[in-house]
């Protein structure tokens, strides 16, 4: 695929997330950089200025790679990285695990960083991690109910309740040592 602004190969495929419909841009490295730095925009256009408000995603991916991205699927919510590129929205918290590598490129282009500093939940990521499983279990439960596998559905409901209650109970207990030292994980 050729760059939309010159004859070079397009190595950057950018999904512009402004307005309602995402727009795909295919650019070479030079033009992608220009675009992402907002140099191509008319300075007098305010809306342009506001769209520099990080509404873009720059992802380095060759056209051949797109096929692979279609197959990178989140096991929890079922979206592929390609779906995300099309819609500009992730499907569930687990996507940050499932698409970790691809997302880091996005994060670099948007934030220039890949690591959070700042506020943390009292118990770190522990509870969140555990509750993400509930998303999958709940879907299995609905599926089972739809297939009239009521015994399976009720087992799943019990499991969801068990996890939810466990997390709710822990919320008011002091954090475990693991979540006290986030830096040790890296």
């Amino acid at each position: 695929m050729k760059c939309q602004k010159c004859e070079q190969n397009a190595t950057f495929h950018i999904t512009e997330l402004t307005g309602g419909k995402p727009v795909e841009l295919h650019l070479c490295q030079k033009h992608a950089r220009e675009y992402l730095q907002g140099e191509g925009g008319e300075p007098e256009s305010l809306s342009q200025a506001s769209e520099v408000l990080a509404q873009y995603l720059g992802v380095g991916a060759s056209a051949e790679e797109l096929a692979r991205l279609q197959q990178t699927v989140c096991p929890v919510c079922g979206i592929s990285f390609y779906d995300f590129r099309q819609q500009g929205r992730l499907g569930c918290p687990h996507d940050y695990e499932a698409f970790g590598q691809e997302l880091e490129a996005v994060l670099i282009s948007v934030h220039g960083e890949t690591r959070h500093v700042g506020m943390r939940p009292p118990r770190g990521a522990e509870d969140s991690q555990e509750l993400i499983q509930v998303i999958r279990l709940r879907r299995q439960m609905h599926q089972a109910a739809a297939e009239e596998a009521y015994e399976k559905a009720s087992q799943l409901r019990d499991e969801i309740q068990r996890i939810s209650q466990q997390v709710a109970q822990r919320r008011h207990q002091p954090p475990s040592s693991q979540s006290e030292s986030p830096e040790s994980a890296s």
Partner: protein, 358 residues
């Protein structure tokens, strides 16, 4: 809270109080959060969406004694009421136009609002009048801590608080300041300012009327990056640049007084004259002229209008507010007449049929 009551008084943040309130209209902090046990909004199945909306509403109602807020079911409102909330900046256009269960919690002074099932499960927003970022942030921390006692937010050791769009991940925080910069616009320095702000990763957006062109010299300045910096650093990033912009604006105002006093006086008084005498006027023209008058008041060129009244007019001359005040739906031409009446009433003290409706 009924929406009809909402229209009877204006939000705290329009009072024109707080530091530097002649130039800084409001200071805003918002956090994006998602509940860990549900998919993000676009991937919610109908059943999950109702369940989650219920859970969030329950949590809001549990916290009502501490936060003095009320839940409004946005999906049950008619178009006019949804538009009213958009004009008051309590909900986004996106939430107004979305489908399915969704809502907003609003506190009595309209300083605190919590959008439910917008782009993220929760969008918490605190707004204060004037340059009061720190105060807004202190209130936000308290609200966030209360919510986190009841909900487990999606959080990742490396990426922080997880959001539906990676542009918000990490802190999920947007810090913004709404500024009134008419002199920088008149002296044609505003674009240069925007360019330098963009270079330091700050975003600028105009205040939009009914059209797509920004009108009225009102600009919102906010951080772009949400990851890799702490909340305090983001506050500082935006907060640090504001005094400089204020200084630029004041310098430009001094310049206008020194170099073109008669012109300035003419523009300001002409704008004031039109607003006090017009019989039909669009919302774009209104915003444009209100901006001039507001500048005149702040420069001591007009002395008989309080800032709070002008701030209020910016919101109350918008379509849904006019129709709510009038108590009926109005087409565009009728709104323009009604808008002119309302302006005359508030600015010229003119009594007319408006007062019959109280």
């Amino acid at each position: 809270m009924k929406l009809d009551e909402l229209v009877q008084h204006s939000g705290e943040w329009l009072r024109g109080t707080g530091r530097e309130s002649d130039i800084v209209i409001s200071s805003r902090v918002r956090l994006a959060r998602n509940v860990a046990s549900y998919p993000f909004v676009t991937r919610l199945m109908d059943q999950e969406r109702s369940e989650l909306a219920g859970l969030l509403r329950e949590t809001i109602e549990k916290l009502a004694p501490q936060l003095h807020w009320t839940y409004i079911d946005v999906s049950a409102l008619d178009d006019l009421d949804r538009q009213l909330l958009v004009e008051r900046q309590l909900i986004s256009r996106e939430l107004a136009e979305a489908q399915g269960p969704r809502g907003v919690a609003i506190d009595q002074g309209e300083q605190l609002s919590l959008m439910i099932l917008e782009e993220d499960h929760l969008r918490i927003q605190v707004v204060h009048s004037g340059l009061e970022l720190q105060a807004a942030w202190e209130q936000m921390k308290r609200v966030h801590a209360l919510l986190e006692e009841h909900l487990t937010f999606a959080f990742h050791e490396q990426f922080g608080y997880l959001t539906a769009c990676p542009t918000n991940v990490g802190t999920g925080m947007r810090v913004s300041v709404m500024m009134h910069l008419p002199a920088l616009v008149l002296t044609r320095q505003i674009e240069q300012l925007f360019r330098s702000l963009q270079k330091i990763n700050l975003a600028v957006r105009g205040l939009y009327g009914e059209g797509s062109q920004p009108v009225g010299d009102f600009f919102q300045i906010s951080n772009q990056v949400t990851l890799g910096r702490s909340e305090e650093e983001l506050l500082k990033q935006v907060g640090d640049v504001v005094p400089t912009i204020i200084q630029f604006e004041r310098k430009a105002r001094d310049f206008l007084i020194k170099e073109g006093y008669e012109n300035l006086l003419d523009q300001v008084n002409r704008a004031y004259g039109i607003l006090k005498a017009c019989r039909t006027i669009s919302s774009e023209e209104t915003l444009h002229l209100l901006s001039r008058v507001r500048m005149g008041v702040n420069m001591g060129l007009i002395r008989d209008v309080p800032l709070g009244v002008l701030n209020k007019l910016i919101i109350y001359t918008q379509p849904a507010h006019l129709q709510k005040l009038q108590g009926e739906e109005l087409d565009s031409a009728a709104r323009n007449v009604q808008r002119a009446r309302y302006l005359r009433k508030l600015l010229a003290g003119e009594q007319d049929e408006l007062s019959e409706n109280n």
